[in-house]
Amino acid sequence: MSLDELFTEIILDHYQHPHNHGLIPNPTFSSRGYNESCGDDIQVSVLIRDGVIADAKFSGAGCSISQASASIMTDLIKGKTVDEARQIAGRFYEMVKGTEGDYGEEMGDAISLQGVSKFPVRVKCATLAWHTLEEALAKGDHER
């Protein structure tokens, strides 16, 4: 396992210059994710209009993998429907857990996190933001 496979330039760029960092003032849903084993703490908020994610932001602090993953995720889900976002999350879990497959354009910069699959102890870092997003979105389920 080579470090360059994990800490790619794209990941380090998202880590050092995160996109969509901050809080949405009046989010439709938000949720907090906490990784007990390392202390990473993240807040994901989404603004939904007509079933489409109009805005997504994250705040908090954590390691390069969890922060880059959150930055990439918020880029990726903006403009997608809630169901589409959930599908991408499902594909993302498969990718970082090492399931063989063609992870093409749909994954955007998230493809740069594929190397995480070779570092099993870091999978939880990569999925923290995505699980937190799913928890936030689940808050809308009972309203449907």
Binding site: F7, C38, G39, D40, G62
Partner: protein, 426 residues
Amino acid sequence: MMRSDVKNDFPIFAEWKEKGRPLIYLDSAATTQKPREVIAALDEYYSKYNANVHRGTYELSQLATDMYEEARAKVARFINSARPESVVFTRNATESLNLIAYAWGLNNLQKGDEIVLSEMEHHSNLVPWHIIARHTGAVLKFIRMNSDYMLDLESLKENLGPRTKAVSVVHVSNVLGTINPVKEICRLAHEAGALAIIDGAQSAPHMPVDVQDIDCDFYALSGHKMCGPTGIGALYAKYELLEKMEPFMGGGEMINEVFPTTSNYAKPPYKFEAGTPNIGGAIGLGAAVGYLEKLGLQNVVEHEIELGDYAARRLAEIEGIHIFRPKTTGTGVLSFTVDNVHPHDISTILDSAGIAIRAGHHCAQPLMRKLQVQSTARASFYVYNDKPDVEALAAALEKGIALFRPRKKADPEQTVRDAENNVKIG
């Protein structure tokens, strides 16, 4: 002086060297590696003497019982307990502390009574008291830590009062390496009429401990942090206290007579060892303390302080590293953070160089908040570590810092071009 070939006593190092991936193990504060003698003791017990203890109706059982009780005597001698019956075998220091909290705390604390802890406690000396405080209405107070990561004894004195029933503090911090003045803390606790409880999980493995000299009422230790197997620990307690205390758990071994609706109990330490104990583990722990005694605990502590000091100096030379360790005392525990590199990333970088450290909150979340960090990286040294291990640590850290050097914001078009090139190359 520490023998220079100690590493050879621990088969795991040869094993990984053979695999072509030499192991630099710097996580002994979490758990230590096991010397051949301990592994052999387990093998010998299970191969030749396995039987249940304290059922001496046949020779094999008597032999197992003798070995189990001999292990108790070894642990007692190791911490200079006045008598072996003061040593109760538990699973680990966490269980030992829970035993005190439940068997003593739950039955002796009243609403408004006070327990004094410190700001540098491990969760194992916090959470049991949270539970007991909720049940009894007792109040928890905290000894402040000063800017040199030492406990402020003035703060202890301020916290002691007529309602103080116990003072429970860590002997050596698992995060900072601070060695607390436990003898003085016990004296002050007793002066206030309170019991003194010492969490020795990080002291028993690393330095000579004399429970009679410290004059603590309770002392908790974990076997796996001192070359012993996992799942075995001990609680030392003054015998009169054990006699007065209610049992922690009920079942076989801990009873004298049992009737349908009542029972009376065996004498300590058996009163606190319900069910078949971890016989093999206890025998393994006995072998571990024997091994450490042969190395010499004074040698062990000197070796670790020397390595800890050396590592602290070496890492301080690297720009961007911040060390959390007292200037005045410190063991072989070294917590640090690195500018621009998260502890979890540090751990991965070091892992790729075959170096095992711990990254996280080290089961001390209140201390992390006090230090104003989310987590730290921690290298912890033991008898088998040496200066080349420290050099490897420093070199790998320098490499990681270079990898994470701050970059300018990427030009999005350039990133796209790079990605396209990568695809072509791939």
